[in-house]
Subunit: 466 residues, 2 copies
Amino acid sequence: MEKTNLKSDLISISGKENVLTDDLDLMYYSYDSSFLTKIEIKNPDAVVLPKSTEEVQQIMKYAFENNIPVVPRGAGTGETGGCVALNGGIIIDLSTWDDIVEIDNKNMQVILRPGVIHAELNKELAKYNLFFPPDPGSSQMCTVGGMVANNASGLRAVKYGCTEQYILGLEVVLPNGEIITTGGMKSKAIKNVSGLNMTKLMVGSEGVLGIVTKIRLRCWPKPKARGIAMAVYDKLDDAPASVLEVYQAGILPSGIEILDSSAIEAVNQFKPEINLPDAEAILLFEVDGNPPGVEYEGNTIKEVTQQRARYVEWATDTKRMAELWEGRSVTAAAAARVRPDGSRIFAGEDVSVPLSKVADTLRAIRDLGEKYNIKVVNYGHIGDGNVHTAPVINPENPDEVERVKKLVHEIHLLAIELEGSTTGEHGVGAVRREYAELEHGNAVNYMRKIKEAFDSKGIMNPEKLF
Amino acid sequence: MEKTNLKSDLISISGKENVLTDDLDLMYYSYDSSFLTKIEIKNPDAVVLPKSTEEVQQIMKYAFENNIPVVPRGAGTGETGGCVALNGGIIIDLSTWDDIVEIDNKNMQVILRPGVIHAELNKELAKYNLFFPPDPGSSQMCTVGGMVANNASGLRAVKYGCTEQYILGLEVVLPNGEIITTGGMKSKAIKNVSGLNMTKLMVGSEGVLGIVTKIRLRCWPKPKARGIAMAVYDKLDDAPASVLEVYQAGILPSGIEILDSSAIEAVNQFKPEINLPDAEAILLFEVDGNPPGVEYEGNTIKEVTQQRARYVEWATDTKRMAELWEGRSVTAAAAARVRPDGSRIFAGEDVSVPLSKVADTLRAIRDLGEKYNIKVVNYGHIGDGNVHTAPVINPENPDEVERVKKLVHEIHLLAIELEGSTTGEHGVGAVRREYAELEHGNAVNYMRKIKEAFDSKGIMNPEKLF
């Protein structure tokens, strides 16, 4: 396929202003937040920015006929290289197709196009006292389409689950250009158990089965009250033990976050005025609901956690909540600054382990950091065992790059060894494919068969997922 | 295949005491709760009751080699003929394989075999202050395996969703005898977004892809308090309007049930001492959580609903809650008795529509009842638009049987017409296959392709789902 033909063919579908082929433009599409795409640069051959299902369909049909790989992309905030064209071909950038088609508040749902930004959606829904609960760290940037592709979650998955829980139906353009609607052709139902669950199969499929062009999403009543508890621990093992005891007391907080000693140190170095207490671990509990219910749960959390914690504080005052949460808010930024010549890289950043193995995991990752002489900062969503690890390296130093690759590989193996997963929320993309068999065994063969059933030519986001 | 060979072959796998081939035994397996299986009797050729994965695997391999249809079955409480062998072959009865393998309360999960009864599971989990939230009406009888196969839900789906939300992983014996584990080979993680979501694909697949032999299920902290509000309406349309206003007030009750005038009449006729108020609709709200939170929500529901309702009562006292709920508890039994010569049949019993269409749906079903001169009783889970319709007929009267078939067909078409689904929670089975294309369009072709990827010979629960 001649690149000049590709350009003119795509222009005939989407118009000149929506097709990019200049090297400088393409370079922007060569990376996401993953470390992989920082060290291995792969440009697509062209980028298209469609704004209708028909356009996406025409692009797909064209690519199908000509055997051109197609990679769907949202805001590019992913951490796995999932939206990068490793084999060249066309990137379909859906980020500018950002219409909220309908807020059907009478039926507790919203219909939207894939490019809507998560925070924007929740801003609109708030006008109706509704919200879409999943809360990724990249809320201000990431698209709902990307969240669907990756089954995104974030801080509040403990109570509210992941994106999949809210997706009622999808319009999907398949690799051959066919359009299907999952969850019922013209359904507005909230409950539907008719047929195989194609909606849930599509959510989290990372663009390897088709391109999501419309999303029907369930909203929830927005809770009226919120509170934050901070608990400070001298012993790391006491932190997950406290989490379990809170559950056993009948409380399901909306979020439970941990900073271990590496994160506490990083935060205090980055912003000394935050002045986090010196400790082995800090837990932050977020509770939401109605005002007296939140007060009750906060007090219960305080009672339960102070049996192990050195210090516990509970707040519902907006200002004090923000102060308590500040350490967590700046952790990612702080991690990036633990060395003057260092950069935080996104690799091995997202393992998930059973709650009972969180302390072992954090200790083992610390030991691995020492083994490879790489600084690591650990924090994450302890409530569901989702550990975030930030290795900090000088990416200009080839030796450090080699060492961090080994470190990351061992972190992934460790997660599987400790009865966890290589990825709790960020997905597989290009960077965790090699663990598919180890994690899933022969189930991977059936994932491949499903892929084949949708994508006989293998053009849909190739080299991803497995 | 000779039936004598079938018998001896199966005995060689599972032992004499676990293989049934006598006509009287087989007849028991010719039906579930569906009307279809009451009027069309189809015995399997044999029934096996395995109690190990290896046995199930051997049975499947044998069936695969000999092209024998296999139908998995739990307690047979389904309402769609899903667990009946319409083409003969082998029924694998999993109801006696009922071990709870491990309550891993440290990791908020439980591992169990498919035959565990729902209520039994929750009794065991209660010892750890945990629970498995979905709450089907058949809780005392139905198996968790059946719940997985049908993605069951029930009263509490409004707040707690369906079974799928809690399933972390499954062991599945595929039609060719291969065994896969979804959600990670040896995972105990709660969060996992690695690979295609095979777990969610299996949940609700009604046994057409394989046989679930082990279930890993997430549990939740058991709420400490509960309350019930009853609101009585003179106008049917005010009931769904009140439901919406409760949501808009930021409240997500754990259940919202409706009895329309037909159900109120049936209950009062069945048990006059319950003495439900004469009304167009009664709503029952169940709220759960912590004590002050429940009290707050109950009072909010009272305030909100009394703007439209003739009468509202809110109770947290155990005795009074039971009294308020009693009308709903007996509705199914009451529906069966509205005619002395009548039986309630399970057909067209489970449509799901958008909340904004619930009143229209109830009116239209009433009109259809008149059109076909069939008594219908309507109730259901209004909170998620899931309407339960009980047609009551004399099944010995061929004319009534013909008329009710037409009525049920029109109810299914009505649901799709009103932007709903033919089934909100009971599934498709054998009885709603004909609506697959109408409801899902060409997406059904891809469901078939997935089926083909798992079941190349088409022996796995044939003639079901689509």
